[in-house]
Symmetry: C2
DNA sequence: CCTCGTATGATTGTATACAATTATACGAGG
DNA sequence: CCTCGTATAATTGTATACAATCATACGAGG
């Protein structure tokens, strides 16, 4: 985790705006707010015990993300996230995670490779034991290392965004024992390709990895909440 | 242009926040604000004749885009955009524009195809005449149609973002007569693949199109402003 | 009964006041 | 001379007051 994110985390934790932002975001992603529902600044402010100012700032961010739509002088309306949105993001992520793995192959450090190796090793252990919480954390970290290693601020930023977007869905997916072993194996493949300095191979494995995660999700009907 | 964007345009035109947001954004992208420069709410507010409130809201959006970094209780610092950022975005765009063309092939309407045909035809004319303004507009529109046709809110949103990002650079690139003809030809190739209902072919052509645009930009050293 | 205009209330847009936090300067103590 | 702590100034964070805008209700006029 780099400096940028540490600071963002601080913001989110300690500022009202950050808390409001995440609260609304979660409520939209979790389906608490329905499509086209109108969000009133004062109502949400009262619910969270803050004034309109932090709520407004949170609205502006959510608008930019496309989660709500603001009509001037009128109101904020939930855009929400559909099954198709999740599906599309997985397709887009597949391509970009591939690019990330490719670039990471060319820029990764010794230390990062070692952390990936440790990560893969530990994941195997926790998968055997069925420790879903730790698995989710390790999976996060595996991808996070690649994001850092790809040496592209833009790609890193983008993939983190998508990653967060599908985090809820992904966590459920990994809860399935079978998938967690497959996922580990795919991580191992990506790591091997990186160690062999074969960027194209790493790209293909990473592509496949995301698509497999998506297929598994569909097969298990684990994204019904997003209808 | 869909309903969503019409409304956003209204926002940007008539609200102080929208104007402030675009002003700062342009100033960062054009290099007026240097890397790591501190942006003070009150200073910018005074410059634009508005209070801190709209400035703050604009800051929040810029932070989410990664153009500035906000340190709590301290200040906002310009992250800026480097040559490498532009380069990376072109690589990412290449993949996503490919995906967009692929999906567009599967969902495009008769009317959209007709508009593309008209677009390509008109572009040839303006390229001959050296009408750079119209060419830029037509090029925008060509990609815009594909974004609409791809039938994915997420991908559409993302590509519009990137497109805006590199707009300044791209406009300069098209000013070169040679490139504008090549670009038109590539547009024609994409359109033909779509008409043949060959998604993979459309994807490859779109991939190539963006990479060519990038290569041309590098070759002409047209992105020096972003050093 | 319908249409249009106006009045009224609700909501967002903006400005500003005040609180909290941070950085800096400066002096006491060692 | 250096270190540490405190006071002060500057800046952001938040709340609130007021302005502008929009939606609705209602009544006059046809």
């Amino acid at each position: 985790m780099n400096e940028y994110d540490v600071k963002n985390e601080v913001t989110d934790k300690y500022s009202l705006r950050g808390r409001v932002y995440h609260k609304i975001r979660d409520d939209i992603l979790s389906g608490k707010y329905k499509e086209n529902e109108e969000l009133r600044e004062i109502t949400i402010g009262n619910e969270l015990g803050v004034s309109r100012t932090p709520v407004r700032e949170a609205f502006r961010q959510l608008e930019l993300e496309g989660l709500i739509q603001i009509v001037p002088n009128k109101g904020a309306y939930v855009t929400g996230i559909t099954v198709k949105d999740v599906q599309d993001i997985y397709q887009m992520r597949s391509l970009l995670e591939g690019l990330c793995a490719k670039w990471a192959t060319e820029h990764i450090t010794k230390e990062q490779i070692e952390e990936l190796e440790e990560n893969v090793y530990l994941s195997e252990f926790h998968a055997d034991k069925g420790h879903t919480e730790q698995l989710a954390e390790l999976d996060n970290r595996f991808h996070e290392i690649l994001y850092e290693a790809c040496n592209s601020k833009m790609l890193e930023h983008q993939l983190r965004d998508y990653h967060e977007y599908v985090l809820r869905v992904r966590k459920k997916t990994l809860a399935k024992d079978k998938r967690s072993h497959d996922s580990n194996h795919e991580h191992k493949d990506i790591l091997e390709a990186i160690k062999e300095h074969d960027p194209e191979k790493a790209e293909r494995f990473a592509n496949r990895h995301i698509l497999n995660a998506y297929d598994n999700m569909v097969k298990n009907g684990l994204y019904e909440a997003y209808q």
